[in-house]
Amino acid sequence: MIQIENVSKSYDGKTLAVKPMQLEIRSGEIFGFLGPNGAGKTTTLKMITGILQPDSGRILLDGHDIVQDPLEAKRSFGFVPDDPNIFLRLKGVEYLRFIADIYDVPAAVREDRVTRLADTFGLTDVLGDTLQSYSHGMRQKMILAGALLHEPPVWILDEPMTGLDPKSSFELKQMMREHADHGHTVLFSTHVLEVAEKVCDRVAIIDKGSILFCGAIAELRQHYSENSSLEAMFLQLTEGFEQQEQQAGSQAAAENLQEEAKHG
C-alpha cells in the first residue's frame, strides 16, 4: 500500500510542480497515473521513491515513511525509471547480481529468479553482454527484471511499456495483474490510455500538479457520456481544467486591476 498524505513539491521554491496531494493506493490494485507531459507524474513518482524530497507531507510505503525510515521503505518497492540508460558498462548478469546483493536476495533462489525473469523478457542470450550493447527496449527489460528480482510488494513503474516489444508488454501486463491479485500494489504512469483502460483498477488523472480525477474508469464514465472513450474524457478533463485555470487567472488579474484603480 502507498499512502500519500498532503504531499507537495516546488522547484526552486517558486514553481509548484505538485500541489498538496492526498492519495491512497491500496493493496491488491493496479493504479494508473495519467496526465500530459509535465503534469507532475514523474515528480510524484520520484517523491514516492525517495529521489526527490517533498516540501511538505509524508509518504508511506507498506507502512514505512520514505523520509523517516528510508531503508525499509526502499526495500519494499521495485522502481523502473523512465530512462533505462543506467549501469551501461555492466554486463546484464553483473547488474542483476548487484541488485540481488543489495536487496539480499537469498542464494538459494537467485539463479531461478534470474533465469525466470530472463526467459520472460527474452534476455537469456544477452546476460553476458554489457548493457551498452543492448537496444533501448532490452535495456528497459533488464531494468524491469532488476526491479522485480527481489520480489517487492510494491511495484512503481514510470512509463514501463515504452520500448517494450508486444510479447514483453503482454507478459508485463500479466505479471502486474498477478502481482495485484496476490494482494500487492502496482503503481505505474503511462501516456497510453488504452493500456490504462485495460489494466488499471483505478486511475488518477493529474495535470499541473493537481489530481483532477481519482477512481475507477467506470466512475469517470458516469461523469461523462457512457459511450465516451477514455481519450475523449481525458482531453475534456485536462483541457477543461486548463480553461478553468486561465479563467481563474484572468479573473484574479481583473480583480487586481480593479483594486489598483481603486487605490490609484
Binding site: Y11, D12, A17, T43, K46, T49, G50, I51, L52, Q53, L71, E72, K74, R75, F79, P81, D83, N85, I86, F87, R89, L90, V93, E94, L96, R97, F98, A100, D101, I102, Y103, D104, V105, P106, A107, R110, E111, V114, T115, T124, D125, V126, L127, G128, D129, T130, Q132, S133
Partner: protein, 602 residues
C-alpha cells in the same frame, strides 16, 4: 552533374554543427550545459549543488596553454641559437616540420578514429542530405582544428622563438604563420586515408571503449617515454640537449629529409622556411600549399566510398554469447553489500576509458614517474660519497636527539630525523595525486539518482567509493616503500612507519576528495571526460592535501629544528597528526555525506 559537385555552404553548416557538438575546448557556461542537459534528458534540472565556474575553466586553460607555449618557446629559442652558432640554422625548420608531421600522424590516428567513427552524430548525419565527400570534409576539418590547437601550443612558439634565436628574416615569420594552416594537411590526409582503408576491411576500432582505452594507454606511454627521454638527455647541458640529445649534424639533409618525403610538399615547406631570399621562398611555399591541397583532394576521392561502407560494417551487430548454467551460477554468487557497491564503482570506473585514464592510471603512474626522476636526480645530486646504507642499523639513532654539534652519531641522528620528515612529505605528495576521490560522485553524472534508490545507507555507499579511492592511491606508495625496504634495507619499523603514513595520507586524501566532490559535484556533463577533466574539485582536493601536508611536515620540522626532538618523537608526532586529521575528516564525511546526498535532486 550535381552528383559530383560539393556544396561549400553545406560543408560550412556541417563543420559548424560538428564543432558545436564536439567542441575542441569546452568553455560552454555551466548554466548553458545544465539547460542543454535538461532539454536532452527531459529532466527539470533541480540540481541544487554549486556548478563549476566558467572563468575558473578559462583561467585553467590559459594557464596550461601558456605553460606549454612557454616551454616550447624556450626550447625553440635555445635550439635556434645553438644551431645558428654551429652554422646549421636551416635544420630548425626541418626538425620542427618533422615534429609537426609526426604529431599529425600519431595524434591524427586517434583523432581520425574518434571524429570519423566514434562520434555520436554519425547516425543522424547519414540520414541528412550530405554527400559522403561533404561528411568527410566536415570531419576532416574538425580533426584539422584539433591539430591546429595542438600545434599552436606545442610548435608555433618554438617556430617563432627558434626563428628569433636563429636570426631569420621577416618573411620567415609570415610564412611560419601561414604554414600553420597547411602544415598538418598532407600528413593528416595520408593518415585519414590509411584509417579509412583499414576500417573498411578490418574494423579494429569497432569497440569504442576498448579502442579508447588502448589508445589512451599508448598516448600515455608515448608521452612518458618522451619525457623520460628528455629528462635523461637533460644531463648533457650542451646545445644538443635541446633537440632531444640528437646530434643533428649527422642527420642533416639525410634522415630528416627522407622522413619528410613521406608527406607530399613538406620538403618544399622546409626549403621555403630556410630560404634567405624572399621570392624563391614564396614560390616554394605556394608549391607546398598546392601539393597539400592536392593530397587532400586525392584522399577525398579515394576515401569517400570506403568511409561510408566502413561505417556500415562497423555498425553491424556483434555476436552474442549465451552464459552456460554453471557460469551463470558462479556469476550470481552472493557478496556482502559493501563489496558489491565497491565492485560496481570499480567496474564503472575502469570500463570507462576517460575514468580509467584520469582516475586510475593517472593516480598509479604519475607518482611513480615523478619519483623515478626525483630519486634519480637526488642520487645524482648527492654524489657517490653519500650512502644511506647505515639506515639498516638506524634503530640505534632513533632515540637520540639531533643538535648539530659534532660526532658521527649526531650527524646520523640528524639525517634520520630528516628521513622521517621526508618520508612524510613524499608520501603526502604521492597521496595528493588521487583522481578517484574528487570525482567519486561526479563520475555518476545524472545517474547518481540511483544512489537514492538503493536500500543501502548513504554512508555505506560513500564508504565503498572511499575504499576504492584509498586502495588506488595507496598502491604506488606501497610499491615505493617495498622498493625502498629492499634496496635500502630499511629496518622494519621505518618500513612500518612508511606504510602507516601512506595509509593515513591515502585515507585523508580520499576523505578530502570525496567531501569536496559532494559539496560541488559535476553531475551534468555531455561526455565522461568532462566529469574528470573539467572538474576543478580534483585540483582543489590536490591543494587541500598539499596544505594539510604542509601543516604536518611543518609541525615535524618545528619539533626537529627548534626543540631538537629525536627521530622517534618526530615519527610519533607525524602519526598522531595524521590520526587526528583522519578522525576529523572521516567524522566530517560521515556527517555531511548523508545530508549532501539527500539534498541532491534530479
Amino acid at each position: 552533374m550535381d552528383k559530383y559537385t560539393l556544396s561549400l555552404r553545406r560543408v560550412r553548416v556541417l563543420v559548424r554543427m560538428l564543432l558545436k557538438n564536439t567542441p575542441v575546448i569546452d568553455l560552454k557556461s555551466p548554466r548553458r550545459q545544465h539547460r542543454l542537459a535538461s532539454r536532452l534528458t527531459g529532466r527539470p534540472g533541480l540540481e541544487t549543488a554549486k556548478k563549476p565556474n566558467r572563468w575558473g575553466m578559462i583561467i585553467l586553460y590559459v594557464f596550461l596553454f601558456g605553460y606549454l607555449a612557454f616551454i616550447s618557446a624556450a626550447m625553440g629559442y635555445v635550439s635556434g641559437r645553438s644551431l645558428s652558432f654551429t652554422g646549421q640554422a636551416e635544420l630548425l625548420p626541418a626538425v620542427l616540420t618533422t615534429a609537426s608531421a609526426m604529431l599529425a600522424l600519431v595524434f591524427g590516428f586517434f583523432y581520425v578514429i574518434s571524429v570519423f567513427y566514434h562520434s555520436d552524430d554519425l547516425t543522424t548525419l547519414l540520414y541528412l542530405p550530405f554527400k559522403p565527400a561533404e561528411i568527410m570534409i566536415g570531419k576532416f576539418a574538425v580533426t584539422l582544428i584539433y591539430e591546429y590547437v595542438m600545434n599552436a601550443a606545442f610548435l608555433l612558439p618554438a617556430f617563432i622563438a627558434g626563428g628569433i634565436g636563429a636570426g631569420f628574416g621577416a618573411h620567415y615569420y609570415v610564412l611560419v604563420l601561414l604554414a600553420q594552416f597547411f602544415m598538418p594537411v598532407a600528413p593528416l590526409a595520408v593518415m585519414t586515408f590509411l584509417v579509412v582503408l583499414l576500417m573498411r576491411f578490418a574494423p579494429f576500432a569497432k569497440n569504442k571503449d576498448r579502442f579508447n582505452t588502448i589508445s589512451s594507454i599508448v598516448i600515455l606511454v608515448l608521452v612518458l617515454a618522451g619525457s623520460m627521454f628528455f629528462s635523461l638527455n637533460s644531463q648533457n647541458s650542451s646545445a644538443s640537449s635541446i633537440t632531444g640529445g640528437v646530434d643533428l649534424s649527422g642527420l642533416a639533409g639525410s634522415k630528416l629529409n627522407r622522413a619528410l618525403y613521406l608527406f607530399p610538399g613538406l620538403p618544399l615547406l622546409v626549403k621555403s622556411l630556410a630560404q634567405s631570399r624572399v621570392w624563391p621562398a614564396v614560390a616554394d611555399f605556394v608549391l607546398f600549399v598546392l601539393l597539400a591541397l592536392l593530397t587532400l583532394a586525392v584522399m577525398l576521392l579515394l576515401g569517400q566510398g570506403l568511409y561510408i561502407s566502413g561505417l556500415t560494417a562497423m555498425n553491424q551487430g556483434g555476436h552474442r554469447r549465451r552464459l552456460s548454467r554453471s557460469r551463470l551460477g558462479r556469476a550470481l554468487k552472493p557478496r556482502a553489500a559493501l563489496l558489491s557497491l565497491m565492485s560496481l564503482d570499480w567496474k564503472q570506473t575502469v570500463r570507462t576509458p576517460a575514468f580509467l585514464m584520469n582516475c586510475v592510471l593517472g593516480t598509479l603512474i604519475v607518482p611513480i614517474v615523478f619519483l623515478i626522476s626525483g630519486i634519480a636526480g637526488l642520487i645524482g645530486g648527492l654524489g657517490q660519497d653519500f650512502s644511506l646504507s647505515w639506515l639498516a642499523q638506524a634503530g640505534r639513532y632513533l632515540g637520540r636527539t639531533s643538535p648539530v654539534t659534532s660526532g658521527q652519531a649526531h650527524t646520523e641522528a640528524f639525517v634520520l630525523g630528516i628521513v622521517v620528515i621526508a618520508v612524510n612529505g613524499v608520501l603526502a605528495f604521492l597521496s595528493s595525486i588521487n583522481g578517484m576521490a574528487p570525482s567519486a560522485l561526479s563520475r555518476e553524472g545524472q545517474n547518481a539518482y540511483y544512489m537514492k534508490l538503493l536500500p543501502a545507507s548513504y554512508n555505506r555507499q560513500v564508504l565503498a567509493k572511499w575504499i576504492n579511492a584509498t586502495l588506488v592511491t595507496l598502491l604506488p606508495g606501497l610499491l615505493l616503500i617495498v622498493a625502498a625496504a629492499i634496496l635500502l634495507r630499511l629496518p622494519f619499523y621505518l618500513s612500518l612507519y612508511g606504510i602507516l603514513v601512506m595509509l593515513s595520507w591515502s585515507g585523508l586524501s580520499s576523505s578530502a576528495g570525496i567531501l569536496l566532490d559532494l559539496y560541488r559535484p559535476r553531475l551534468t556533463w555531455d561526455n565522461e571526460t568532462q566529469a574528470v577533466k573539467n572538474n576543478l574539485g580534483v585540483l582543489l582536493a590536490n591543494l587541500l592535501i598539499i596544505l594539510l601536508a604542509g601543516i604536518g611536515v611543518g609541525l615535524q620540522l618545528l619539533l626537529f629544528l627548534w626543540l631538537h626532538l629525536a627521530a622517534l618523537w618526530l615519527l610519533l608526532a607525524g602519526l598522531l597528526y595524521l590520526l587526528l586529521a583522519n578522525i576529523l575528516l572521516i567524522w566530517l564525511l560521515r556527517r555531511q555525506a548523508p545530508r549532501l546526498l539527500r539534498q541532491l535532486e534530479f
